[in-house]
């Protein structure tokens, strides 16, 4: 167990030391989200209407770009070999790294969402719903992402392939995440959607580490 913790702690510390990691993901999120208003034009009612979708897609895409951080660096410098050989089961090793990724790459996105939501002039309760939905749904992004990351680790230019593998699997989260927020904006009960997202997170939590571990075993061969 303490090995599990020490691995998470180490990944977080690495992210903090590198620093630029945080800022760059955040800035991409901001840029990607701001592209849309630019694209669809400034009318406020439209913005309000598409706000949740834009934010969710923005979160999806920025999360996507950070996925290679989960395993790539460790693969390149041989740390991954060592991690796989350690006495911590590979599944838990993968889970630890997924958790670290979620904490360092996804949570910051959630925290900055309100500001962007305002600029897309989303009503206040919509904003709360947005953050809640992200909080409950975003673990799925890291979890599923880890599988793709594991499969593409060590590929020269795996980026596009990674997105092809992962994005389709993100779609359910997107749909229910947006549904939750829109429900909240329309002052309807958003409970069911949130529960669904939570369910997905739990399901992914069970399946993904196993799949990711399998992928990693291939990768280090």
């Amino acid at each position: 167990m303490d090995k599990f913790i020490s691995l998470i702690a180490r990944d977080i510390r690495l992210a903090v030391r590198q620093g630029s990691a945080f800022t760059m993901t955040l800035s991409f999120f901001v840029v990607a989200v701001t592209l849309y208003p630019l694209g669809v034009g400034p009318e406020l009612n439209i913005l309000t209407r598409i706000g949740p979708g834009v934010l969710w897609v923005g979160a999806l895409l920025s999360c996507l770009l950070t996925l290679d951080r989960i395993f790539q660096a460790d693969f390149e410098d041989g740390s991954l070999d060592q991690l796989m050989l350690g006495s911590l089961p590979v599944e838990f090793m993968a889970l630890a790294k997924i958790i670290a990724h979620w904490l360092t790459s996804v949570v910051p996105l959630i925290l900055i969402t309100p500001i962007l939501a305002v600029s897309l002039n989303m009503p206040a309760d919509g904003i709360w719903a947005m953050m809640l939905a992200l909080l409950v749904g975003s673990p799925v992004l890291s979890l599923i992402g880890a599988i793709g990351a594991g499969l593409t680790v060590g590929m020269k230019r795996g980026g596009v392939l990674l997105s092809l593998l992962v994005l389709p699997l993100y779609i359910p989260v997107l749909i229910f995440g947006v549904a939750a927020v829109e429900a909240a904006i329309a002052v309807l009960p958003m409970g069911p959607h949130i529960l669904l997202l939570a369910g997905m997170s739990l399901g992914a939590l069970v399946i993904c580490p196993v799949a990711a571990a399998a992928a990693l075993r291939l990768a280090v061969e």
Binding site: S27, L44, S119
Partner: protein, 243 residues
């Protein structure tokens, strides 16, 4: 490795000069800020159409001006760094970037806070605001480059290229209000035919601008010093490793 330090001979002089200026810069900043804020908050009258919100101008406009002028300053020193290979030029551009980013951010935020009462919304996607946002992103990208190279001299040149490309954005910001019809105020102070606004507003605005400028100078000196010493620290560490 004694050799390495020669590149930082002039930094030594540079450091002496800056630390001589530093206390004065600090004092001037405090004084100007005190006066400026007093004028801005108590003396200047409320605007006949904008009401009290006009007071936002005194933090908004100077911030916006700093945002642009700091970027220009970075572009110039980066160019010198590229041409004359003077390390201090690069380092000063690097040191200025975070300050510029902060001012840009402030211009954006105060602007939005002004926008709500004036335009009925915090944000619109017009040319002025958008180009200002791009400026903010350029600052972020610039800092990102410095963070991503482990070879500092390479990072300096890479960052310089970005700044110089991005410099195109500054005139766009400046003249966007004239080229496209935007909600945003057209220039009324920095215009060809002199200021167009009443001195009771102009004076505090200018005082605040001066205050911001000297504030920039103060922080800038601190940061440049940090950069130079940090670079020196790196080199000495490496030197110790050699033995």
């Amino acid at each position: 490795m004694a050799i390495d330090l020669h590149r930082f001979a002039n930094p030594a002089r540079f450091l002496r000069i800056t630390s001589a200026i530093f206390p004065w810069a600090a004092i001037v900043t405090v004084l100007l800020l005190a006066v400026g804020l007093y004028l801005a908050l108590f003396v200047s009258p409320e605007d006949y159409q904008q009401g009290q919100t006009v007071r936002i101008m005194f933090v908004h406009v100077p911030a916006a001006w700093m945002a642009m002028s700091i970027y220009i300053m970075m572009a110039i020193s980066s160019a010198t760094g590229l041409i004359w290979k003077h390390p201090v030029a690069d380092l000063s551009a690097k040191a200025a970037a975070p300050i510029g980013a902060c001012f840009t951010f402030l211009a954006l935020v105060t602007g939005s806070l002004w926008g709500q009462p004036m335009w009925g919304t915090y944000w619109v996607w017009d040319a002025r605001l958008t180009s200002m946002l791009i400026l903010f992103f350029l600052y972020l990208g610039y800092m990102g480059i410095w963070g991503s190279f482990d070879d500092q001299s390479k990072a300096a040149r890479a960052a310089a290229i970005l700044v110089l490309i991005g410099a195109i954005n500054v005139p766009i910001i400046k003249f966007s209000v004239d080229w496209w019809n935007t909600l945003h105020q057209p220039a009324s102070v920095a215009t060809m035919d002199g200021p167009k606004i009443h001195s009771s507003i102009l004076t505090p605005l200018l005082v605040m601008s001066l205050a911001y400028t000297s504030l920039f100078l103060t922080i800038f000196i601190i940061r440049v010093k940090a950069e130079i010493l940090g670079r020196r620290l790196r080199i000495l560490r490496l030197a110790n490793l050699e033995e």
